[in-house]
Amino acid sequence: MYKVILARLRQGHRTMKYPAGAPPAMPDRFRGLPKIKPGPCPDGCRACVEACPTGSVTSSACQVRIDLGQCLFCTSCTNICPQQAITYTNDYRLAVRCRQNLTVTSDQGALVLADALDKKSQSLFGRSLKLRQVSAGGCNACEADVNVLSTIGWDMGRFGIQFVASPRHADGLLITGPVTQNMKLALEKTYVAMADPKLVIVVGACAISGGPYIDHAQVNNGVGTIMPVDLFIPGCPPHPLTILDGLLRLLGRIG
């Protein structure tokens, strides 16, 4: 017992001040919101489009677009562009309410980040949001960084957000993975088992679009093909801060 108390003292208080204080610093090589330099590409250059493993980069009339819903935040496009027109910024805020808002172009300013739920939903969920997590074909990296939010450093419980063991106890689903054919039925049943009103939050490129497995016969291209989605959190996997930022925006706790 004495040792436990001593260890407790040595480990100290670890919960971050965020969102009241500054967010934890991102590593300098962190790949957050991509930025596209305005200006025309060299004639006929489609290097970034061809290099992208998931087809998230498209170009038309010299306008490059990146769909963050498919983006793996890898370095294929940034490394290949002869003009270094695509770079990653350190901006971790990526969560949106509409699928279309995940498109990044050169002339757009910031992303239209997720806005809060309506007043009624906020009064229901704003101080107590119980989520049922379903992994539907994910690689377990999104799941791992979702789990991190329950550790003492992040302590998501202080916002009333908690993972529960049954859909019957849940206000919403937090889904990861492209929804494999083999998980489709289980996911649908879990959704139906929740009482209304309910929320659906999708985390990671897979759950938004199929991610690296887009168009595989064994998967559905993300949760949106199966049920309505209230919050999209892109990344492969998203940083825990990106996930928390999205959840807090949805609940109207920040933003």
């Binding site: 480990q11 377990n140 003492i152 064994q218």
Partner: protein
């Protein structure tokens, strides 16, 4: 008995062999060679089918490891028609491999004691081992389960959706009161079809596939994929690239082992260690993010080396962070061994006897906790591990305590290894150019991921495209070990036993 299977082609990890140099054995010889080798303490690393254009012929390949001689062997045989004799009754470690061959190629391993689908998908060929219609939807975990009948026995079914934030799988327990007689595990819910999608590659998606085979094992799987391409592309990475890649591999081990010890503490209700370790795991993930910007190491490794170089400032930060994390981890983990309520739950729970670990072909910390000195970094070393050896950590109890304690030993050794590497990073380019890939070859790569042996095997055709890409995640070897360890245990100890193995669902389901 001859120890070395002389009728097979020898090969080392991260090397290639021409397909024509791999002997084609008669079926009987092939089977007998596997049996003799396993009797002589070799083990089956991989056993897989390759479809030939005519449906009538399927080639079976086997990779055997002689860990004492640091040597791998590969051989093959041809199956004409739709069946081959099952080895499983005499060699349990091929049990899942044979079910996989049955499911992928529609071949029936005659005499297999438990021939059920493994991942619940359609066959890659027009044949189906269970005679199902190609148009019929294949539903996961549907079919008969092993059943214990009796007035006082009952069945407990769990999953695919579990209570925690965890991947899907279905567990069927046959119980007598609280006591588990038998556990059958049905997986396949995470099946994304990656092996099939690798055919015809490499493509721009191949590396992301490798990185997401099992997200918590990003580095070990990406390293295996890169080594395959490097072997086929005749590329010798610089010592610098080897060192940086090994640092990332050991950081991955540290994050997961520390996380597992915390989760084990959580499962027995010892919250101090659970909270501390949960946080410290994140510190190790952040160290990987310092290397490449991503906490799981996505984008760090590329065929030819590493995409992100190291600098002195980063080395200094890492050394400092390692020292802090080591101190915190030691305090947190030693609490476990000093707390009787924890030890009472760990010791004796979920035993996997040494001989059973040998028979089932268990790998990784689970094997080492049952007293086996099995570790790819020592037995089949490649890269930096040929020069800088990490002593193998073993324990002999085979129970939850053994699996926890081996993790703690490995944490200490990985910390020492990373520190040593950071202090003497060789100079050189981080990335080396590759030649065109070799046609008509077999390439193999083994890495000791944190769960155990990660094995990738690639076969190339005349145009140097993948005609087969076989992946074995350590979980594939170990799931049956978990099922065995649950025998005669209390069903309430399942979460604890499960966590002590902490196997990957998607790594199994691919």
């Amino acid at each position: 008995m001859i120890r070395t299977p002389l009728n097979l082609a020898p090969i080392k990890s991260c090397h290639t062999v021409l397909l024509e140099a791999i002997p084609v054995l008669a079926m009987d010889d092939f089977m007998q060679t596997i049996l003799d080798s396993v009797t002589a303490s070799l083990r089956v690393v991989s056993l897989f089918g390759v479809a030939s254009p005519p449906l009538e012929t399927t080639t079976l390949y086997v990779v055997l490891a002689d860990d004492e001689q640091n040597q791998l062997f590969v051989g093959r045989t041809e199956v004409k028609g739709d069946r081959f004799p099952s080895l499983t009754p005499r060699c349990p470690q091929v049990h899942l491999f044979e079910r996989e061959i049955a499911e992928q190629f529609g071949l029936i391993p005659l005499g297999h004691p438990w021939l059920k689908p493994l991942r619940y998908h359609h066959a890659w060929t027009a044949r189906d081992a269970w005679g199902r219609d190609q148009k019929q939807t294949v539903l996961p975990a549907v079919g008969d389960f092993y059943r214990v009948e009796g007035e006082q026995t009952h069945e407990v079914a769990v999953g695919p959706v579990h209570a925690g934030v965890i991947e899907p799988g279905h567990f069927r327990f046959q119980c007598h009161g609280e006591q588990v007689f038998h556990l059958e595990i049905a997986l396949g819910f995470q099946h994304r079809g990656i092996e099939q999608a690798m055919l015809g590659g490499p493509t721009k998606r191949s590396l992301p596939y490798a990185e997401t085979l099992a997200g918590d094992t990003t580095i070990a799987h990406a390293a295996s994929y890169c080594q395959i391409i490097e072997a086929l592309g005749n590329c010798r990475k610089t010592a610098r690239a080897e060192a940086l890649s090994s640092i990332a591999l050991e950081l991955e081990r540290l994050a997961n082992h520390v996380g597992d010890l915390g989760a084990l503490a959580g499962d027995v209700g010892f919250l101090p260690a659970a909270s501390f370790c949960g946080r410290i795991r994140g510190e190790f993930l952040n160290m990987t993010a310092l290397l490449c910007g991503n906490r799981f190491g996505r984008g760090l490794l590329q065929p030819g080396g590493v995409a992100f170089d190291m600098d002195e400032e980063r080395v200094a930060i890492l050394l400092h962070q390692l020292a802090v994390a080591e101190r915190d981890t030691t305090v947190a983990v030693e609490l476990l061994w000093d707390t009787q309520s924890v030890m009472a739950r760990f010791v004796g729970t979920g035993p996997l006897p040494r001989q059973m670990a040998v028979d089932l072909g268990i790998v990784g910390p689970a094997a080492r906790a049952s007293g086996l000195t099995r570790d790819v970094r020592c037995d089949q070393p490649s890269g930096i591990f040929r020069l800088a050896q990490i002593p193998v950590s073993t324990y002999d109890s085979g129970d939850v305590f053994g699996r926890a304690f081996v993790r703690w030993l490995e944490i200490q050794r990985s910390l020492a290894f990373i520190r040593e590497q950071l202090q003497s990073i060789p100079t050189g380019e981080p990335l080396t150019r590759l030649d065109a890939l070799s046609p008509s070859c077999l390439a193999i790569s083994l890495n000791e991921g944190w769960r155990g042996e990660v094995c990738h095997v690639a076969l190339t055709d005349e145009q140097s495209r993948f005609s087969r890409y076989k992946i074995v995640d350590p979980s594939f070897h170990n799931w049956l070990g978990l099922a065995y360890a649950m025998r005669n245990q209390g069903i309430s100890d399942f979460p604890l036993c499960n966590k002590s193995f902490n196997l990957s669902y998607c790594g199994h389901d691919l």
